[in-house]
Symmetry: C2
Subunit: 217 residues, 2 copies
DNA sequence: ATAAAAATTTAGACTAGTCTAAAAAAATAT
DNA sequence: ATATTTTTTTAGACTAGTCTAAATTTTTAT
């Protein structure tokens, strides 16, 4: 049984493992967890002893099968709860992440099974992020940040980063939500802002925004 | 902001305060929390500093207005979640208490407000226990343990103790659920077992069971 | 190849919560 | 009224998680 804190570290390590195939560095984890490197060193020793990660001094950390499976269960819970909050309790999509950060630690396999059923076995959460199934299988949609596309790109929005409430409010305002058709018209050299068409409107978005919109490729 | 542990102590102290108008003793709290008296002394000092209780050395503890209000919010959350689990997720009434013990600590006033609304502002939980409203107002139904009634008593079940899964399974089996009509036919001197009629069936129940069935008076 | 800079680990301290054992106070019995 | 028992508090230690500061290792720059 993992503690709250251990679960949060493991989740962070999982996410960092996904973006980049190399070992995860101590400072990256510290940054992600808003903590200090010294604290991370202590924790990765602990998680290593419990075989959720493999750890080589000064080199970094790799998540194990067991660790990945555990992390995916936490992510499953997080995304199911977010779906519940939006679909059933009628929260706005920008209000649910912080609450799900708490709810994801509730321990009860039966609860998650029944919640999944109550929601009709959703495949993705309100932000378009895929929900791992009960076996930890997650179908990674092939997507890339809009920012990395070339002018002329036409496709649809798969998902958006869900942890920044202000970003989500903004995206909702301009109609940039998962499933929407989107086109990249031009890229401004100077600040890498993009001219796009989304929700049948033309507008300009900043690089920072474009990096957090994942589109189908 | 209270910690998990502080919330659990406060809740225990509230419940102990309700049953009996005297100060709550260190050993009573230790018993209720399954911990040692020395640990309790530490914690009541802390809760006292934060003005949730008043504490006099060697004498005991009294809960403050602020402490009562805080405790009632936790109880409100606990009972709303239990109601959700039974009404919406179709849990059995004996499966929900332990999960609600976790869920009651989730911090989000908006979540509780929306949950309350989603459930149709229920007045009592699956075990018949009253749900405090958003202002912490709780309507204490006038009830007493069936065990304390005299033969000839006829009335209905108000609530049952909810923390023992085996008791709840048993009560469900014999049809002794909140709202049901119940009559006390006779009391056995030797072991204080009761002959009752409930759910249109006559049966004998032990003292231990009769103490945990609260009936209208 | 060596020096400087950056990243990581270790050492030691702190808080929250818990425990056991001992001391002190209160309650009870003679 | 005194002695015994019970309850409560204190003292000191332990774990989880965190921090700062110092030591060590690795990387980068000259
Ligand atoms: Mn989220
Ligand atoms: Mn999400
Ligand atoms: Mn309960
Ligand atoms: Mn209940």
């Amino acid at each position: 049984m993992l503690s709250f804190t251990e679960e949060n570290y493991l989740k962070a390590i999982y996410h960092l493992s996904e973006s980049g195939s190399k070992a995860v560095l101590t400072n990256e984890i510290a940054e992600a967890m808003s903590t200090k490197a010294a604290s991370v060193t202590d924790m990765i020793k602990k998680l290593s002893t419990k075989n959720f990660i493999s750890y080589e001094k000064y080199y970094g950390v790799k998540i194990s099968r067991q660790g990945k499976s555990e992390a995916l269960m936490i992510i499953r819970k997080h995304r199911l709860w977010e779906t519940f909050l939006v679909e059933k309790l009628l929260f706005n999509w920008d209000e649910v992440h912080d609450i799900a950060e708490q709810l994801e630690h509730i321990q009860s396999p039966l609860l998650i099974q029944k919640l999944d059923e109550f929601l009709g076995f959703p495949k993705s959460d309100p932000h378009g992020e895929p929900i791992p199934d009960k076996n930890g299988k997650i179908s990674m949609p092939s997507s890339m940040p809009l920012h990395d596309q070339l002018p002329g790109y036409a496709g649809s929005i798969v998902s958006v980063k869900d942890s920044d409430s202000n970003l989500l409010k903004y995206l909702n305002r301009i109609g940039a939500t998962p499933g929407k058709k989107i086109r990249l018209l031009a890229k401004e050299e100077y600040d890498e802002s993009l001219e796009i068409e989304v929700d049948e409107k033309r507008l300009t978005i900043s690089k920072a925004v474009a990096q957090n919109i994942l589109v189908a490729v």
